[in-house]
């Protein structure tokens, strides 16, 4: 009994709690890794946001070249004023003449003179608008309805102004569309620049028949370094394909676009030996 006394079964404290704690440590680590660490997953979104922010700028800058377009839309408004004029004058002139005719009789001479002056002024004002004066001279000889005609002229002017505003809106719309087109053209310029640099590095193989087209997919870094080149459509001439591929790789880093938002990660470039 006394000898065995020292050899008590040894029991460590806190077996259960330490197991729970060990599990807790690993669960915490796992949670941290899953939710705390985001490896580069969000980067592409940030890039697209920047692109959209910088797009409106070119639209504002290209306001000057647009006057050339104005002549084109002018023919369009012509039918419209006619359409609008017909409904509008009918309701408005009717109430007004009644009031004015009642006032007119007491001061005929002065009123007539004023009317004449106004008539003279009206064509002058109308002159800058090319198409409106033409219809006016015809009603003028009929005279006596004078006031209503003035009002009609005014209405015409107003509607013309309205139409002009509409035109302006339309022109602005067109400008925006054009700006997009312009961007595409600038893109073409960028592609041309790329092709120019690559072409200078192409060593043409001697025996090419015809002018076959080869299409390459190029992936580049923002610095212009070529990451990968893939032949999408072969020209049918293997030596030429290989020559172009070598030239693309040799052209790294590629020239960068004038405006950074034109940068594209993936490019599709077409080559023809005789270009």
């Amino acid at each position: 009994m006394t000898v065995a006394a020292g050899a008590l079964p040894y029991e460590e404290p806190g077996k259960v709690s330490s197991a729970v704690l060990a599990v807790l440590v690993h669960v915490l680590l796992a949670l941290f890794l899953f939710f705390g660490v985001h490896w580069q997953n969000r980067q592409p979104e940030a890039v697209t946001v920047e692109l959209w922010n910088s797009l409106p700028a070119p639209v504002v800058q290209r306001v000057e070249p647009k006057p050339q377009i104005k002549p084109e839309p002018k023919p369009e408004p012509k039918p419209e004023p006619k359409l609008e004029l017909k409904p509008e004058p009918k309701p408005e002139p009717k109430p007004e003449p009644i009031v004015e005719k009642a006032i007119e009789p007491p001061k005929p001479d002065i009123a007539l003179e004023k009317k004449k002056e106004i008539k003279k002024e009206v064509p002058k004002k109308a002159e800058p608008e090319p198409k409106k004066p033409k219809p006016k001279p015809k009603p003028e000889p009929k005279l006596n309805l004078d006031r209503t005609k003035d009002i009609r002229a005014q209405l015409e002017r107003e509607t013309a102004e309205l139409n002009q505003q509409l035109e302006k809106d339309r022109i602005l719309d067109q400008m925006r569309r054009e700006a997009a087109m312009f961007a595409a053209k600038a893109d073409a310029a960028y592609i041309a620049k790329l092709k120019g640099k690559i072409k200078s590095n192409i060593v043409l193989p001697p025996d090419i028949a015809g002018n076959p087209e080869a299409i390459f997919d190029v992936v580049q870094l923002p610095t212009g370094e070529v990451m990968s080149v893939r032949l999408r459509k072969s020209s049918g001439h293997k030596a030429y394909d290989a020559a172009v591929e070598r030239a693309i790789l040799k052209s790294s880093p590629l020239p960068r676009p004038d405006r950074p938002e034109q940068f594209q990660r993936g490019l599709e470039i077409k080559f023809r030996p005789l270009d």
Binding site: T2, A5, A7, V229, R230
Partner: protein, 228 residues
């Protein structure tokens, strides 16, 4: 394979090759075991320290040795290491002194031997599982490295089939492989830290036990001299 693909931990682990996944599993279980022992030893060593403190206070406060012995015998299950050492020594001393006529140094020597034996047993209990922590700390980085090397070998072999090698082709494979090293290090670092810390704590406890044994032997020797 493009660069913007999902590189979350989960996809990296599920996309890894089977040997790498096995290595990860092994390391994960090893890590769990090592954390289990880290906490168990933490509680055990802390408790041993508290009990030693308490017994030393009781012993040096001049209380009756027979009373201490009785309390140690009565609740043996709650007794600390130092209390058990004291109990073994005192019991042996009392028994040997009962056999009259012998050399007075004999009971003291016998008590010291009994205390030594109990001390060794207690130390063995305290140091249990520490070697596991030491092995985890030294081996698991290598196991993780093995998984990484294997994964990188695979990703480079896959690269051989591609015409134009880019970083985008290799990067996901390497990232997958490196997860193994990360898990290995996660298992190893706490194990090494805990091992060093616990070894130091146990050393200090051992020194306290040994000095107690020496001091208690002196007291017994004085008592046997008085008894003679």
């Amino acid at each position: 394979m493009n660069v913007t693909q999902d590189l979350s931990i989960l996809s990296l682990i599920t996309n890894a090759s089977v040997p790498v996944q096995l290595v990860m599993l092994l390391l994960l279980s090893v890590s769990f075991m090592s954390w289990l022992f880290i906490f168990r030893k933490l509680f055990a060593i802390r408790q041993a320290g508290i009990q030693t403190e308490k017994f030393e206070r009781d012993f040096w406060s001049g209380s009756d040795m027979n009373g201490l012995y009785q309390s140690a015998v009565n609740d043996r299950h709650r007794a600390g290491s130092l209390e058990r050492i004291f109990e073994a020594g005192f019991r042996e001393f009392a028994k040997l002194r009962a056999q009259r006529g012998a050399d007075p140094s004999i009971p003291v020597e016998g008590a010291r031997r009994a205390m030594r034996a109990t001390y060794q047993r207690e130390m063995d209990n305290l140091e249990r599982h520490l070697s596991f922590l030491a092995s985890v700390g030294s081996v698991s980085p290598y196991v993780g490295l093995f998984g990484t090397v294997w994964g990188i070998m695979n990703s480079f072999r896959g690269l051989a089939n591609v015409n134009s090698a880019t970083l985008a082709h290799v990067a996901p494979g390497i990232a997958e492989a490196l997860i193994a090293t990360a898990i290995g290090l996660f298992a190893a670092i706490p194990a090494v830290v805990a091992y060093n810390r616990y070894a130091h704590d146990i050393d200090r406890l051992a020194i306290r036990f040994e000095s107690f044994i020496e001091e208690f032997s002196n007291i017994l020797q004085r008592q046997s001299g008085v008894g003679k």
